[in-house]
Symmetry: C2
Subunit: 252 residues, 2 copies
Amino acid sequence: MPYDPSAFPPFAVTVDLVVLTVRRHALCALAVRRGEPPFQGRWALPGGFVRPDEDLAQAAARELVEETGLRAHDPSVPAQDNGAHLEQLATYGDPKRDPRMRVVSVAHLALAPDLPAPRAGGDASNARWAPVEELLQQGGYGRDGEPVAPLAFDHHQILADGVERARSKIEYSSLATAFCPSEFTVGELRRVYEAVWGVALDPRNFHRKVTGTPGFLVPTGGTTTRQGGRPAQLFRAGGATLLNPPMLRPEV
Amino acid sequence: MPYDPSAFPPFAVTVDLVVLTVRRHALCALAVRRGEPPFQGRWALPGGFVRPDEDLAQAAARELVEETGLRAHDPSVPAQDNGAHLEQLATYGDPKRDPRMRVVSVAHLALAPDLPAPRAGGDASNARWAPVEELLQQGGYGRDGEPVAPLAFDHHQILADGVERARSKIEYSSLATAFCPSEFTVGELRRVYEAVWGVALDPRNFHRKVTGTPGFLVPTGGTTTRQGGRPAQLFRAGGATLLNPPMLRPEV
DNA sequence: AGTGTTTATCGTCAAGCAGACGACTATGAT
DNA sequence: ATCATAGTCGTCTGCTTGACGATAAACACT
């Protein structure tokens, strides 16, 4: 199979983003409304073309800023705060996934705390945080009784893959702290796990597990009562990124 | 940012393969010698362009057949035998990763039992199974004392990522059976773990673990003495793909 | 001030699993 | 017959988990 550099088939390459956050006890994803065909008016994941001089991670970080204002967390500066976690998810390249042309999309997964208001090129009505449960029930009905159209392109699959990645990765890593502000309580972290997994966890056992894992949480000394009840210690994420033994996701 | 279908930047899209097997107690990867510039004469991972009408997984499966003769295991036919396990690994798109043009490579990971002789378009001298330890020690010297040139392009990184994926995934899945023939003994499976992780495992505890996990191994009834010593029961992989609790990779 | 509610945190106990390791078994090689 | 090799079954100890009781410290009422 001789190599002919002038005869390679041309592709368009895009990045799509699964941006997840936890709001009001539910795992939510960022969705944007499409302004042009195909799938005009339908909800989709944010994304765009990779530029000619850009790395894939750079393109994902740029799209993240454009769509949310969130800066991506730079792994080379571990001590820093509120950047979003950003990692490559998977690549989707079915020849028919875009009806216009051959597009290969490198999907990325971003995890962010619940601070930012969505913005899509400044137009808030075309971007929203939607519970993933709602986005993933294709052809069903939303909480308002209105029928829910499925996401554009193959974004249903991409979102499902991103959610599954997040659900499994918080088991064995400190990734759940990416959903929290820079200082947080054990209870707030527990509510992240509960929202992402959709289960209830025992507060006492959870507390024992996370405070007993060396390097996972470091106390800041402060306390807060922002959740009500007895004041809780504030922590920030420790250096440990791998959780061993892992946090066990309950069965059933 | 208006959409202009005629103005997307063109990319070449390739698939590269990290094909792993276990030979003579060592984790080995398939390497092919490059016949043309750039990196002419250097070792590289097998790969090639994605065709215009081809899915990414199809392209990877086709390259796997072309380079090794191995058919990819079809997940829709779980009862079958000796196809190789094939999964997408990650995508690499640094603008400078190929000096000729902008190439985005979707790397795939394949795991195969130690049966096939390598072939690279029929030319065996241009393909070999090399211990990953040897391929990954850049700028060092091989077992024969000859200096080892690093792999072409960014294939060092791709191989390292693939090896790490395999090492972590056998912890919590039945993936290690992909390195075994369709019928195998507990000891053979243990030697796979030992080769992939580069550690020694206690045969008694390993035996207890794998035979005690429901659905992981199913006995075929037969026995073999091909490893010497007392005859060992033969098993085949059970339906369980997730190992819970996981097999623990020893520290240090 | 007292009472209830909420959340946080500490302890206890039993079951299960992992690591270390002894003992025995069944084959082939010498 | 003896040895070496590999496989298989048990035992013991320590750690982790899951279930859950009990206490602590705030706030919201009355």
